[in-house]
Symmetry: C3
Subunit: 436 residues, 3 copies
């Protein structure tokens, strides 16, 4: 992703020709253009599939009385985020690179006399970038599930796709100050995952936990996932889509060097997930003698997020270790959140925030140009910005509209309140307890 941005940057700002890349000289410019565009389209398709993955994951993790609404949120947020990113976000994020103001990605303007110099079809680049914005926004919906009303959620989605995601994204990927410092975030460990994680964390704190989630005694009341097959399906779709997320972030596929890099990225992405799975399962077996499926699936996602900042340089064994540490970190953060009485319905904060930070910092160990201080500055800057902006917006929203359901509404379930239709209307479900 950064490479996608940088590629646009390299072409538009500095006038470097594509042929200056290693190996690219041999592939004719027209063929290269088609191959680069195909990479964005094909990998973009995989990233788009991640939206399905998030929907299934979140739909499976909430209780049966909240499934319709979380699915509805995940569908509508795609539309809101795409439109917002088209109108405002894209130009804000790539102003340094692409010029133009809102609603006018310069890439499409008809006065492009030399299409070839862009290296890839402008709409394919835009598509890939937009789907990253959609992914970032998808991360927060699950954390706030079962209690947050639809309208304020969509207002936050619009803010995030128009401002929050693009501004911090511009720092690293739009030719901004983090890029100049040498901050490394290959496919969004920080710019997508921890950025969205901070927004989710502040949202969860401002919103408060689901009623009856935490007893006054401090005890955590279990709230079971409605459908583990859906959770598994969603996670496996995300795993698949992540090949596009990381692979497409190479930004070009027009040389031997590029395609070697993409293949390594695929393998490292898969291997980090394996690390997350094995570490989580082993730890659960040791600590609890039962291997909880939901936690192992979050371990897979933890591995994926952990490798996202550097799937190009980790190496296979490195990827395995990075993913394994990510899995352990996810388990510990899950525990920590419960102790802090922060209610993250699907575990997005342990997965995306904690592992996004971990993966970004560890890049300094395996990337030849990695610098732990720069990585720390980048992580911290994004944290400060996202926390501040999110808190302001969440609290601002709370002044003007009701953010969450009333106690009575929460008891009968958000589906009856917001959508009027249960997800499984014909099925008999366990008698709904007062606080359930």
């Amino acid at each position: 992703m950064p490479r996608a941005g940088l590629r646009v940057c390299a072409v538009a700002c500095t006038g470097l020709m594509l042929s200056a890349q290693p190996g690219a000289a041999e592939i004719p410019a027209e063929t290269a253009y088609v191959l680069n565009s195909l990479s964005f389209l094909y990998h973009g398709m995989l990233v788009f599939f991640m939206a399905t993955g998030f929907s299934m994951l979140e739909g499976g993790l909430v209780r049966t009385k909240s499934v319709s609404t979380i699915l509805l949120k995940n569908v509508i947020l795609i539309a809101v985020a795409m439109i917002g990113f088209y109108l405002v976000g894209y130009n804000l994020m790539f102003y340094n690179v692409d010029g133009g103001y809102w609603g006018t990605p310069r890439a499409w303007s008809p006065d492009q006399t030399d299409a070839l110099s862009q290296g890839a079809a402008p709409a394919s680049i835009w598509l890939f970038q937009t789907l990253f914005a959609v992914t970032a926004v998808s991360i927060i919906s699950g954390t706030l599930a079962e209690r947050m009303r639809l309208l304020p959620f969509f207002v936050f989605v619009a803010f995030m796709s128009c401002v929050l995601y693009p501004v911090q994204g511009a720092w690293g990927w739009g030719g901004g100050w983090l890029a100049e410092m040498g901050f490394l975030d290959f496919a969004g460990g920080t710019h997508v995952h921890s950025a969205a994680g901070w927004a989710a964390l502040t949202g969860a704190i401002v919103l408060g936990p689901r009623r009856s989630r935490f007893a006054d005694s401090g005890e955590v009341r279990p709230m079971a996932a409605s459908s583990l097959p859906l959770v598994t399906l969603g996670t496996m779709i995300l795993w698949l889509g992540w090949l596009g997320f990381n692979g497409g972030s190479q930004g070009s596929m027009d040389s031997v060097a590029d395609v070697i890099a993409i293949a390594n990225i695929y393998v490292n992405t898969l291997m980090a997930t394996c690390g997350g799975i094995v570490a989580t399962a082993a730890l659960l077996q040791l600590l609890r003698r039962k291997i909880d499926l939901t936690m192992v699936l979050n371990g897979a996602l933890a591995g994926l997020v952990s490798i996202t900042a550097g799937p190009d340089t980790s190496g296979i064994v490195g990827a395995l270790l990075i993913g394994a540490v990510g899995g352990c970190l996810m388990l510990w953060t899950t525990h920590l959140l419960l102790r802090l009485r922060i209610d993250d319905v699907i575990g997005a904060i342990p997965v995306h925030l904690a592992c996004g930070i971990w993966g970004t910092l560890v890049v300094s160990l395996h990337h030849p140009e990695g610098d732990i201080r720069v990585q720390l500055i980048g992580v911290a800057a994004v944290a400060v910005f996202c926390v501040t902006a999110s808190v302001v917006v969440w609290i601002g929203l709370r002044r003007f509209m009701r953010l969450r359901l009333s106690q009575g509404e929460e008891a009968i379930g958000i589906d009856r309140v917001e959508t009027g239709a249960l997800a499984y209307p014909e099925f008999a479900t366990r008698s709904v307890l007062p606080g359930d």
Copy 2:
């Protein structure tokens, strides 16, 4: 899709070389051949995934006692349609282009001395065309669900893939009279979606509604969808697959111009869906204060169908508006069908028929060569043909075999009658009421 046909046409009929296309001159013919074939294979894979989408969508929208059968129909219809289209349909549809009689797509005959002149692997072209036929047939199964017996349904599927779809498809895509008039239907707003919609509508009328769907008082009895997560999954898979449906219809991927077109098609297809989603959700919020998930998902599909006739020339904002109007039109048509007491179980008629027509007509506004009279003629001709042929076949079938379940069979549910196995045998479902 038309382009796919036209490409074959251009090569086979007029002898134009691929290199005559803009920009294509620069890519060597062998590389172009591989890229074109890859486009059909990759986009065809996405179109094939739509069959999974239809299965999940329809399986989620019927009641629990009808789920197995609708899944079975959707699996078997793929086989029937592919075999039918292979034996009869393909040659009928592309006779002007490809020559040959049934069972012998000329493209495969071994006397092709110059493979390169075909521009793409013949089997890849055939694959893409065949999967369009499968898609067309998939559309009608849901409308007729819960009451139509298996055998007559498959006879209609065979008729549709052998005759109904290919004949009207030949008019526009096989070098027929609509093509000569300049009728524009890029990826099948008319030739796939409204054609199938007409077949579904006539089927729904001939078959009659599910018993107890409409009370004598005119009241509509709600019949809840069995699983909204399945409906959401199916819709999102269809959305994904539609990138291949529209993108692959560009027909070639061997030039800068082609890949720019494909990228624009992807973006416009996504944007039209966003328009359909937002318009439907907003309208529901205004009219009913609840946002029904099923309707929003049909809004997404309405946006997709609406853009299908012209995703190449709509522009982003145009796509958004076309999709938004499609969403509203779908809601209105859904309402209209209920008033007319026509029972369309999954809403295929509002989505595919109404929006297929709308999308085809609006092409005249955004396509440089669009002509509203020609578009109207095409829409009307397909309507007359499909309605006539469908009515004849439906009524003919009714003479020779029982089309629908008896009252008793319908009460116990089609799954027990046709497949002998419920979809969720271990789950307790709400006590089945006499007329339910």
Copy 3:
């Protein structure tokens, strides 16, 4: 797949240049390298999706009290198999081709002075091979579901990915003795499907059936699948992924001849599935007057397995017939297993073992170089090796750890025992009978 291996072989062993292939001379080496790598990455992505398909298929076919565990097994086995194949299996399988010892696929070693001579990115080749190992291992989990404990299962998975799959795979695909004899197995009818089928069969025999599956009277007690939509979803995803499994096994995509072959493989793969579906459905209608959805889906998979050994040369009509015979064979083998009181929960033995053998033998009829004796020798050698090795390991495992649940554990269900969480905790399911 063999072609993938052979390609590596051809390049690494004999020094043949890629340009020696028909048509490849015209595509420049760098472009060819990108296209070949893309083929492995894209088709590998599809093969990876098959893991999701197996998970859904198996999760839908077991009873509700065993769903979490089978999903957990399917997720963790990916990690175990990938790591095992990386550390040991890959080098064992391709020692003749690639040299190197465990953990060091030579392809990645940095002293490769001439990347181009490899024909494709080494990691992309490794990815494709590894995902075949994952597929092979995925096949056995379902057969042993509902009664086998997690730990011994994963030990067997490690053995299979490290030794069992690579050793017999090396005979045919790693330049071994079967390859030298001219044994034909294009994408793994024997090396993947029947090999895994033998492991599943021996496991099912050593482990014994689920308690109460077979009454003392010999009667078979039906044990219903928990969710037919999941089974359908899984099967359709497998169908989709199989395009990559067979298509990617062509091994290269850098010439007109290659892409024609890949397109034919796609079409034949689809057609064989259609044959399996239609034959199974017709036979069920004739024999039982009800068309069981589960059996039709297994018929689709039977068609897919049947064509896997020769999708390149079967021809369309041949594919249809091969798939149809496969469907019938699957039905008959299912019946046979029940009579033999072998409990295969998901029907993997009828699908993968029986049809894997059938498809491998029939290659001798349609492949120009096919020889029934060589095919028989290959099938028999793999059978003897896999049965022997599996029996030794299964029985060895039984000495050192408890393979299966106790009677009480099996009654309450494996999910409560191994994962501690039911898959559908909120849903009311039919009262669990003592032996159920």
